[in-house]
Subunit: 341 residues, 2 copies
DNA sequence: CTGAAAGCGCTTACAG
DNA sequence: CTGAAAGCGCTTACAG
């Protein structure tokens, strides 16, 4: 069963190119991979043959001998609904792709399967399909860190890995500082009754943001106990917002652990007839485009997804090149003041 | 350069398994792939050896002989910002993954590259990395249909391909009927001055929705000339909405070609102090979760992404199995009445 | 049901 | 700079 092209001819092989160019397979191979140890005459002959034949190297054959697949996995242990609705995750995935644009590496997106959880994903990683891994949106119990550590593959986490005894390269935002920034902004605008809707407490970003928030509140002598645990998505956050304003009508400042949560809380506030920022001030996180389309526009904390992705990718690329890059890399968040707080 | 596992041993090969189980490579291979022509004693021995050694077949070696890659590409010729913000696209990608969950096939997501456009994507397809292709969000001039037709790979488009002389399997929603549905709803609620913000007119969904809309309006004796061309995203749609209400203050009904556009238009209406649906009624399209989080909630037209993805995937799988599936498959949209119209 | 052998399409020391 | 040859790790007729 041979492969055929659109004209019905079997797909050209290196052997065909070599014959057509009048050289051996070895020099054809060298010429194609831009080898420097090929005479320019032969290089040209091969080049022409390649074009005439429409030759494309068989990646399986190449991988078999080079032991490289030229593909990097972006692992996102989340379901599609979150992956395709959270702008931060999207920017991150795209960022890896952009960072790899000038390399031969391809990106493959691996997400949590609805039917088989992370097991399918782990099996793929184990299967030798990829040369390196970038992980984003890791949860404490997804067992990914352990699995990946065992794989010995070049890896970088975006966000500090959470499993015990795991020591893997990562890049992260200083989320504690981010939480503090949110508190300080709200404090400065006169908030007396703070509340927060957090992210899931099995994720390091959510944990750290809450830590920074609580720390700053306590330092200011305020109560930090009003908190609702969300999951970084909008609709559940909206429901949480309803409960929040119901159970704590005195609240006049809310730190939402990401912009999606912020929009949910803002909707809940509007439903209650609360004005933002008049009655209640809201600060989001991630500084996504979403925040510019709300009314009022959202004050938020930066979380440079593209930059994090770029650095994580470089961490993997360095390991692939046999180097030992320095890590962790920690970026500093900033507050973007708009209208909501 | 051998591959090593976490204990420093080179990765086990089929040869190792065969030796360990006391059989030939051939029967080891048969046993592993669930071959029926292996004695149960040998099957068990091989099974044990596989586990003891932690053996995982080398996919490159297997592909080289089977000429199958066990991967299906989901091709989305859009930039990341749209892919990761449009719920319809996200559901579609995830739907392909779900439809493949019980097969050995893996999904790889191919999107338009910022630096190299669709060329990189086409090169990957040409490279023999995949067994089949599902295309979503195709544009008239992305040259994908032609490229894919030449590749001879099993393919299915979600949305009728637009290039001339291309005859490729596809599944689609009856978007003309959808546009009509929107018009009828608005007409029934007493709209006298219709307007529409369309999708990009190089996409079949956008073209067809507009056609159905215009047709129904003219049938009702109304003017269908007030139209603004959007690109299926929210922020530009919001700007278009501003212009619309500025230039046509008489408008009392808007058909937005998708929910993202609808949200943009709704925001623009609110900015102008227009009440929805009091002053202006709005119908969206795609019936995404987004529409349930707006105020008022969005009346929309269904566009079953998961179902479309499932059918498209099946179309590809059938071709892979050497069958000739019937196409096109056309689904019928329905109106979901909520608050905005 | 089983094994020896050929072959998939490349790359890469090695010798020249 | 070049070619003959070995080898990457599998699968699959073929003969038994």
């Amino acid at each position: 069963m041979k492969e055929h092209d659109h004209a019905g001819r079997p797909r050209a092989t290196l052997e065909d190119v070599a014959r057509e160019a009048g050289v051996s397979r070895a020099t054809a191979s060298r010429a194609i991979r831009g080898g420097d140890l090929v005479s320019s005459a032969n290089r040209e002959a091969v080049q022409e043959a390649v074009e005439r034949l429409g030759y494309v190297p068989n990646p399986a054959a190449r991988s078999l001998v080079t032991r490289q697949t030229d593909t990097i996995a972006v692992v996102v242990p989340e379901h599609d609904d979150r992956i395709f609705s959270d702008p931060f995750i999207g920017r991150t995935i795209a960022g890896v792709g952009e960072a790899l644009a000038d390399t031969p590496q391809q990106v493959v997106l691996l997400m949590r399967s609805r039917s088989r959880g992370n097991e399918q994903l782990a099996a793929y990683l184990r299967g030798g399909h990829v040369d390196g891994i970038v992980v984003v949106s890791h949860h404490r119990d997804d067992h990914l860190a352990r699995e990946i550590a065992r794989s010995q593959l070049p890896t970088a986490f975006i966000g500090r890995p959470l499993e015990d005894g795991i020591d893997l390269p990562y890049v992260d935002l200083d989320n504690v500082a981010g939480g503090r920034l949110a508190a300080e902004r709200l404090l400065a605008s006169g908030m007396r009754h703070p509340a927060t809707v957090t992210g899931p407490q099995d994720m390091v970003a959510a944990i750290d943001r809450l830590a920074g928030w609580g720390e700053a509140l306590r330092a200011a002598g305020l109560d930090d106990s009003v908190r609702y645990e969300g999951d970084f998505t909008m609709l559940p956050a909206q429901e949480l917002g309803r409960r929040l304003f119901e159970e704590h009508p005195e609240v006049d400042g809310v730190f939402a652990a990401n912009d999606l949560i912020a929009v949910g809380v803002m909707n809940a506030a509007r439903e209650r007839g609360l004005r933002v920022p008049g009655d209640v001030r809201i600060v989001g996180f991630d500084d996504t485009p979403l925040g510019m389309s709300t009314h009022p526009q959202l004050t938020s904390i930066t979380n440079p997804a593209g930059e994090l992705a770029r650095i994580a990718t470089q961490l993997v690329l360095d390991q692939l090149a046999g180097e030992r890059p320095a890590w962790p890399v920690i970026l500093t968040p900033e507050l973007v003041a708009r209208e909501s707080a």
